[in-house]
């Protein structure tokens, strides 16, 4: 199977979490004999090429970071310029986000089913998973721990051509956390979580408290 992959992140490739996810995913895909070509929506110079590839592809995969409960504005802008297919190709999605629970991504997932129809493609499912915010801040083994599991999903996709599989559904993790975990995480967010984010900000050269209010109270 040959897959035309679009990285739908507006973030430049170097800092794109979605790109790091795709690196692992395509590793698995290739190991199972799949081939692919990958494009970045963040690079407007590629838009003509992506439109052309979209016109011809049999299997399309769009990898998307969730932006305000749906797809990012830049990806929307690009897709608005694409000529819809005539039901003659398959489309699947990887939908990822920062918040950890599966429930956070369902509103976006629901739209992808509708989007597939508007793009004139046969919907082949969405691989849904959150808890990916940290990818950008990790390197090496630490990053692999977050992105590594996507390799297996790439293998499965190469074999099946869709995400309509128990293992893919399980990959999402918990829809919401049970109440005792929420209480525990809530305490961590207020304590070590804040210290960690403050540290991160300092390493970025941030000179203000993270709850600074530049425009009001």
């Amino acid at each position: 199977m040959h897959v035309m992959i679009i990285n739908g992140s507006p973030r430049v490739k170097k800092y794109s979490n979605t790109d790091k996810i795709l690196n692992k995913f395509t590793e698995g895909l290739a190991e199972q004999g799949g081939t692919y070509e990958q494009y970045e929506v963040s690079d407007r110079k590629q838009w003509d090429d992506i439109r052309e590839a979209f016109r011809k592809a049999d299997n399309i995969l769009i990898a998307i970071p969730l932006y305000v409960e749906n797809i990012p504005g830049l990806l929307l802008e690009f897709l608005e310029t694409v000529t819809p297919r005539e039901g003659d190709c398959d489309i699947a999605y990887i939908l990822q986000g920062g918040f950890a629970e599966g429930a956070q991504l369902r509103c976006g997932e629901k739209y992808l089913v509708m989007l597939s129809k508007h793009l004139g493609c046969r919907y082949k499912g969405t691989l849904v998973k959150g808890d990916n915010f940290s990818i950008r801040f990790f390197e090496g083994d630490m990053q692999d721990r977050v992105t590594g599991p996507y390799k297996r999903m790439g293998e499965l996709f190469a074999q099946r051509g869709d995400f309509d599989d128990k293992e893919c559904k399980k990959f999402t993790g918990p829809e919401i956390f049970p109440v005792h975990i929420r209480i525990l995480l809530g305490v961590m967010f207020k304590t070590v979580g804040r210290i960690m984010f403050n540290k991160l900000a300092k390493s970025w050269g941030c000179e203000k408290p993270l709850n600074y209010k530049p425009y009001g109270t």
Binding site: L74, E80, Y111, M114, R136, F177, N211
Partner: protein, 167 residues
């Protein structure tokens, strides 16, 4: 104050909204954003981690962001594409992230970002084209959850009276 951001060129809508809100004594601030220079969000995270509350993109959105912080309601008027609001409307929402902080908490049963300001506006949507209105209602509800505010609903341009009754 009810902030209305019109990302379409259809100013008949905002004129009608002005009439309807004046009749009811609702204070509005109408921004005609169709020809403004407003970029998409590039996901740099600077508004959370480098320059808290300030977007790294210097364009016409800054003026809108300052108004959003003071508004009771934010109503976005958008054209539609691919069954959803188009990118111009979506960019208004994507660029709102500076009103949240990097810090996390649980709000109801799910993770949220701690909001930056003491209040966040309730959210309403008016669309000029065809879209799945049930989906847009659900989407507006999810948007409002992120700001711990109330969803006021999604309306078509032929439902302006209904929209104003929610302002």
């Amino acid at each position: 104050m009810v902030l209305i951001v019109n990302t379409t060129k259809d100013t008949a809508i905002t004129e009608r909204l002005k009439e309807l809100t004046e009749q009811k004594g609702i204070e509005t601030d109408i921004v005609e954003a169709a020809d403004m220079n407003i970029s998409h969000c590039i996901g740099c995270n600077y508004c959370w981690l480098k320059t808290p509350g300030v977007c790294s993109i210097k364009d016409d959105y800054e003026e809108i962001l300052k108004k959003i912080i003071k508004a009771d309601d934010l109503w976005v008027i958008s054209d539609t594409a691919l069954g959803f609001i188009n990118h111009k409307g979506k960019n208004i929402f994507d660029r709102i992230l500076p009103i949240a902080t990097m810090y996390l908490k649980f709000y109801r049963d799910q993770m949220r970002h701690v909001t930056r300001y003491s209040k966040s506006p309730d959210i309403g949507l008016i669309v000029t084209g065809e879209a799945d209105m049930d989906y847009l209602d659900k989407w507006v509800y999810r948007c409002a959850l992120n700001f711990e505010s109330t969803a006021l609903g999604a309306f078509g341009k032929d439902e302006l009276e209904e929209a104003v009754s929610c302002m």
